[in-house]
Amino acid sequence: MADAVLECSGLHKVYGDLVAVDDVGFSIAAGETYGLLGPNGAGKTTTISMIAGLLDNDGGTAVVSGNVITTKSTAAKAAIGLVPQDLAIYPDLTARENLQFFGKLYGIKGTLNERVDEILDIIELSDRADDLTKEYSGGMKRRLNIGIGLIHKPDLLILDEPTVGVDPQSRNAILENVERLGAEGMAVLYTTHYMEEAERLCDRVGIIDEGSIIAEGTRRDLVAMVGERDRLHLELSGDASVVEGSVSAIDGVDSCSAAGSALEVVAVSASRALPEVILAVNDAGLDVHSVQITEPDLESVFLHLTGKALRE
């Protein structure tokens, strides 16, 4: 990719006997939003920790704006804005003070106060800028968490599950901000296990599972991998895992995954498979409370590729 802001290849990280990240590679161009989609524990956070220079890798390279990133490479770090999953802000400082603090660490000097005001506007916290952040709601803290990552106008913004635990209104505000940043030319690496967010925001998606990227491409590319499949979401009266095996064995069912009382099924034809699925559920002594049939999406792709649901 000619104008890639981030290029990483062969990233590898091992903890003892556990291979946390194995041969991960992808690139992100300016103005592109790349989604790293995978369930909890898939290796997303370890991957971005290496890209952000927080962890030394055991193999591979990551280059940001032409600078190879390591834990000691200050030039590469200056080009990255990290928004960690944790609310990494001081609760006993105000939003303005938090922004000023990190702005100074990013080396902003003369224009710091103006830049802080700009960010406060962007994250819509200007009217609460001088309140201690411990008095903020969860959504306000999330917005500040993102604002800190933007304070130095980075080339690459890394957002690690930025909407976890956020109310719908704040979540929407965050997603709108990310869309706007991408449109303004910033490269964005966005990790999530919310398929809807990846579908809405990301130009390209890498699906990561057990430390490896198992598929990559645009939403259209990935959905095409599933083919003309339907996805069925059933809510049952009890533990859905008891019917997982019998449903998987039904002719025309590609994959089946249970999570609590929910059953996710990918089938060649929903109308053909559904009666048999309901029969299998009833045979297991359970009732079907609701059925939802959808077009193939990234959730279907993940289910198709791994046999697991994203939220497992």
Binding site: L54, T74, L87, Y90
Partner: protein, 383 residues
């Protein structure tokens, strides 16, 4: 520059919490005031003195002890009654001069003066006065005995001659040390030094919780994602804690000087003691903050550890009343070295060279702890 930014944020966060202002600035001064009033010159030790009548030597030592301004002497007749009063804390010490005191000494035998006290700060002062009086009289008696042996003179005559000679030479001054009363300094001096060291170390250790909070919230890790080296982060956190402890130390020194006329001795030397002790406390606090993972655990350990070390190091009761073994043990704590240094400055008017050993030990403690904590904290950041 980034080191200063991180250090400044530590200070700002500390003073955001109003209760910290009370514990760091107000409480130490209140305690210095209270302890000074309770154990200072406002409080005069009371000593029961039991001595035989018609014994010239006993009379001499009684006069010598009674004229001390360090305590009030109360005549008593019954030893058991006096000891009972001592147990009830009505008096601070009992001195018993035996009935055959003068007779034994003139016969060339030993005589024992019984001394009973409670482990109070007044007790050791009384004891030091008694020991000084005995030493003064013993010198005369030894001279008399020597004269009697050398000239075959009558022991009583030789003793009279020795006493006459003693009167013509410079008298041995009996100076009460310890600041409890009389002597050099005022009633707040040593108590202020002890509280200064106790609170500086307590603040240093409890400030470790803020370091743990930064780590737990992910702020320390986030700092590492900026173009800031791990060394600058460790340096900033260390400097911040050092400044907090120094600020408290300087405040206590100045406030105690202004409010209670505490004489800290040579200002340069006193500043160096505060600085080296702050360095030690900072290292200990950083180590605690790097080793523990929860603020609650570290906070509990910090308070317990700071009070234990203070007690062991002579910041609760003076090192002078410690048994010899405990004095040795006490010097494994930085407090003991700090207290020794202040004792030299306050009581003896010492200077930097007089406390060079104490300063060297405190500096070594500080540098070793900071080096160790830097390694541990850096590992916590980057692994």
């Amino acid at each position: 520059m980034k080191t200063l930014t991180i250090a400044a944020s530590s200070l700002r966060r500390l003073f955001r919490e109003r209760s910290n202002i009370f514990f760091i600035f107000v409480l130490p001064i209140v305690l210095i005031l209270v302890l000074g009033l309770v154990f200072g010159s406002g409080f005069t030790s009371r000593v029961a003195l039991i001595a035989p009548d018609n014994d010239e030597l006993a009379g001499d030592i009684t006069v010598s002890i009674s004229t001390s301004t360090a305590f009030e002497t109360i005549p008593a007749d019954d030893v058991e009654d006096a000891r009972a009063r001592l147990r009830r804390n009505e008096i601070d010490a009992v001195i018993v001069i035996p009935d055959d005191y003068g007779e034994s000494l003139l016969a060339g035998d030993n005589a024992e003066i019984a001394y009973y006290s409670t482990p109070s700060s007044g007790g050791f002062v009384v004891r030091s006065v008694v020991e000084a009086a005995i030493a003064e009289q013993a010198a005369v008696i030894r001279a008399g005995r020597f004269a009697a042996d050398a000239t075959d003179a009558d022991p009583a005559t030789a003793l009279d001659t020795a006493q006459l000679v003693q009167g013509s030479i410079a008298a041995i001054g009996v100076e009460t040390e310890g600041g409890v009363s009389g002597g050099s300094g005022n009633q707040f001096d040593l108590g202020a030094a002890q509280q200064l060291l106790l609170f500086m170390f307590l603040t240093a250790l409890t400030s470790s919780t803020a370091l743990i909070q930064s780590r737990r919230l992910g702020v320390s890790h986030r700092m590492l994602s900026t173009p800031t080296s791990a060394g600058a982060i460790v340096g900033g956190e260390t400097l911040g804690r050092f400044l907090i402890v120094m600020l408290q130390g300087v405040f206590i020194v100045v406030a105690a000087g202004v409010l209670f006329d505490v004489e800290w001795g040579d200002p340069v030397a006193a500043t160096l003691v505060v600085m080296t002790f702050a360095l030690t406390g900072t290292g200990a606090g950083m180590l605690l903050g790097s080793l523990f993972s929860s603020e609650q655990q570290a906070g509990g350990f910090a308070i317990f550890g700071a009070l234990m070390l203070a007690a062991l190091g002579g910041s609760m009761v003076p090192l002078e009343i410690f048994p010899d073994t405990m004095v040795t043990v006490a010097h494994f704590t930085p407090h003991a070295w700090g207290n020794d240094a202040f004792a030299t400055l306050i009581r003896h008017g010492g200077g930097v060279t007089d406390i060079a050993t104490e300063l060297a030990v405190l500096t070594a403690y500080g540098l070793a702890l900071i080096a160790l904590s830097s390694v541990v904290f850096r590992r916590r950041l980057t692994h």
